[in-house]
């Protein structure tokens, strides 16, 4: 029994307010911490516009854009994960588990090999390649896993693994044929790496997050009804086919944006929505909007750890999320197979 009763706009507002505060606190904390020693007093001085020079560059051009990138990527991946979980009615579905991240990463690497750079059109082209890769991977997983219109849990996971391996191998082929000096950057990015991204990319990222977020969050009530099964949802007035296409497009867009600007960071889409469900219950109208902020908070926290734990060297943030996500995945897999017959 959940004592709160059904979801309401008041509860959502309270929840989002609390999470926004949490995001703000973590972001502020992250602004003060880093391998370059900037005393807290100087960070404050930079923020209030009283200090220029190296400290200003570190705080405003390195730390701040990276914090924003972490918030955007975390939110995008968490909402995409929640969307894929509702779409496949499988609690383990997630962009990296489904191979969709690998498809998007293939698109990005292909775009880079073709020489797309940092201009606005080129940034959009990069995102478009990532989206195309994500869609191809998602459709491939669906075609492999679908049995008479249903998506059995285990075949879905296996199909995701297979498609993921395929695209990873294709990426390996691509980076084997590019110049050796560009190799290092791509490999680092492939592990899931947040780096300060230019304002233009941040703007494109924000716009893609807004569109994808709207596609998934705006359909949250219908996603609740989809839990009843497609036939029953249709009997309640939901066009299940249109809904599934909308969620797939939205989740693929969010995944590809995150992969294009932050790399294929795994498990955020698994950990965040599932942890939120444990606390909030199953209602997607609370879980998915909350995932937007909680995903950002989680990835920012992970990235702050990643760039400080072995300072002055840096870990890839994907390593931290995988260390958290892999045990969580095992827990969910066991919990699920313990309660449902094979």
């Amino acid at each position: 029994m959940r004592p709160e009763g059904p979801a309401s706009s008041a509860r959502l507002a309270l929840l989002l307010g609390g999470l926004a505060l949490l995001v703000l606190l973590i972001a502020l904390g992250s602004l003060f911490i880093g391998s370059a020693r900037v005393p807290p007093r100087d960070v404050l001085a930079v923020l209030t516009g009283h200090m220029k020079g190296v400290d200003q560059v570190v705080v405003l051009s390195l730390r701040l854009p990276r914090i924003l990138a972490a918030l955007l990527a975390g939110g995008a991946l968490a909402v995409a994960g929640a969307g894929f979980q509702a779409l496949t009615r499988n609690p383990l579905a997630e962009p990296s588990v489904l191979g969709v991240s690998s498809g998007a990463a293939f698109g990005v690497v292909l775009a880079q090999v073709m020489g797309l750079g940092g201009g606005l059109l080129e940034t959009l082209g990069l995102a478009a390649c990532a989206f195309a890769g994500a869609v191809v991977a998602g459709v491939a997983v669906y075609l492999i896993a679908a049995r008479a219109g249903a998506l059995p849990v285990h075949t879905l996971l296996l199909a995701g693994v297979i498609v993921g391996i395929f695209f990873s191998s294709t990426i390996t082929v691509l980076i084997s044929i590019v110049d050796f000096d560009r190799l290092g950057g791509i490999v680092h990015w492939l592990l899931g790496n947040l780096s300060p991204i230019p304002p233009r990319s941040l703007a494109v990222f924000t716009a893609l997050l807004a569109v994808g977020g709207w596609l998934v969050i705006g359909a949250a009530r219908r996603l609740n009804l989809l839990t009843l099964g497609e036939e029953n949802a249709a009997q309640l007035g939901v066009d299940a086919e249109a809904l599934k296409r909308r969620i797939f497009a939205g989740a693929a867009l969010l995944t590809s944006a995150a992969v294009a600007f932050a790399g294929p960071i795994g498990f955020v889409g698994l950990i965040v929505p599932q942890a939120l469900r444990l606390v909030l219950g199953p209602d997607n109208r609370l879980v998915i909007p909350a995932a937007l902020l909680a995903g950002g908070a989680f990835l920012l926290l992970a990235d702050t750890v990643a760039r400080n734990v072995i300072a002055p060297a840096e870990l890839s943030v994907g390593v931290i999320t995988a260390f958290c996500g892999a045990p969580f995945f095992v827990y969910l897999l066991r919990a699920r197979t313990d309660t449902t017959p094979p």
Partner: protein, 269 residues
């Protein structure tokens, strides 16, 4: 005579080639009318097309030929939500692992009333509360459906269907998974809804006794066609049933209600 609420005229349906295995569930030229305020039973053997008929009535499927009208309007001309405001369906079961509470399930029934809304309004909550009260699940409103008994789950589904405030309630095998006590409760509940709210009910059932007891008229289906439509006494005749089901039966009268009851003649070894 009252005007029909639902009219099926020459409805024909066949599943596509991809679902060829379901060829048995095809419908051929089915016509019948359901009058406003009536309890109408649909009976017939397995694979006779009963569930296909439920899907057609709720516009999950569209007839290949013929039309289904509600209050004179072709179902095909209405949006899904508009159909759901007229017709609500009580399905046989919920998916396993269904994580929502009774109240959340009943509120889902309010979706077709205002599909654009993100959260339910106060009016939606009040309607859900009335529906839970009418069905007797108000005390269970905070309980997760997965942990309830079959009878309780079915009442929750019924509450959702009533909260939809439809003109027609379609029940797909309501007594299938219920023990005797819950069958009795279910019958009483449907009678009250029909009498007190003048709710028109289509009851699709395997259970001939249950259908004969509750319904004003029955339609017997066999191999996708409507074999006979009429009051229970005229449909539940031994020769008609034996032809439809392919086994021997004896039709008797219920000692209290005097409605027909059907006894199977079990073959000897």
């Amino acid at each position: 005579m009252t005007a029909p609420l639902v009219a099926c005229r020459g409805v024909t349906f066949a599943y596509g080639a991809r679902e060829a295995s379901r060829a048995a569930f095809t419908l051929r030229d089915v016509s019948f009318e359901v009058r406003a305020g009536e309890m109408f039973g649909v009976i017939g053997p397995n694979a006779s097309g009963k569930t296909t008929l439920v899907r057609l009535l709720s516009r999950v499927l569209t007839p290949a030929a013929g039309r289904i009208e509600v209050d004179g309007t072709d179902l095909g001309a209405l949006s899904r939500a508009a159909v759901a405001r007229q017709i609500s369906v009580v399905p046989q079961t919920l998916p396993s692992g269904f994580p929502y509470t009774v109240e959340e399930l009943v509120l889902m029934g309010r979706y077709p009333r205002a599909p654009h809304r993100f959260f339910e309004s106060e009016a939606d909550r009040a309607a859900a509360r009335r529906a839970m009260e009418a069905v007797g699940v108000l005390d269970l409103r905070g309980a997760v459906l997965d942990r309830l008994s079959g009878g309780e789950r079915q009442r929750a589904l019924l509450a959702r269907a009533i909260g939809q405030e439809p003109r027609l309630l379609v029940l797909d095998e309501p007594s299938a998974h219920l023990d005797l006590r819950y069958q009795a409760e279910c019958a009483g509940l449907l009678r009250r809804l029909n009498r007190d709210r003048r709710l028109t009910i289509v009851l699709v059932s395997h259970d001939l006794g249950f259908a004969a007891e509750l319904c004003d008229r029955l339609m017997l289906m066999a191999a996708g066609a409507a074999v006979r439509v009429g009051p229970p006494e005229s449909v539940l005749e031994e020769a008609v049933l034996e032809a439809a089901y392919g086994c021997r039966v004896i039709v008797d009268k219920h000692p209290i209600s005097r409605r027909p009851t059907v006894h199977l003649v079990y073959p000897t070894a």
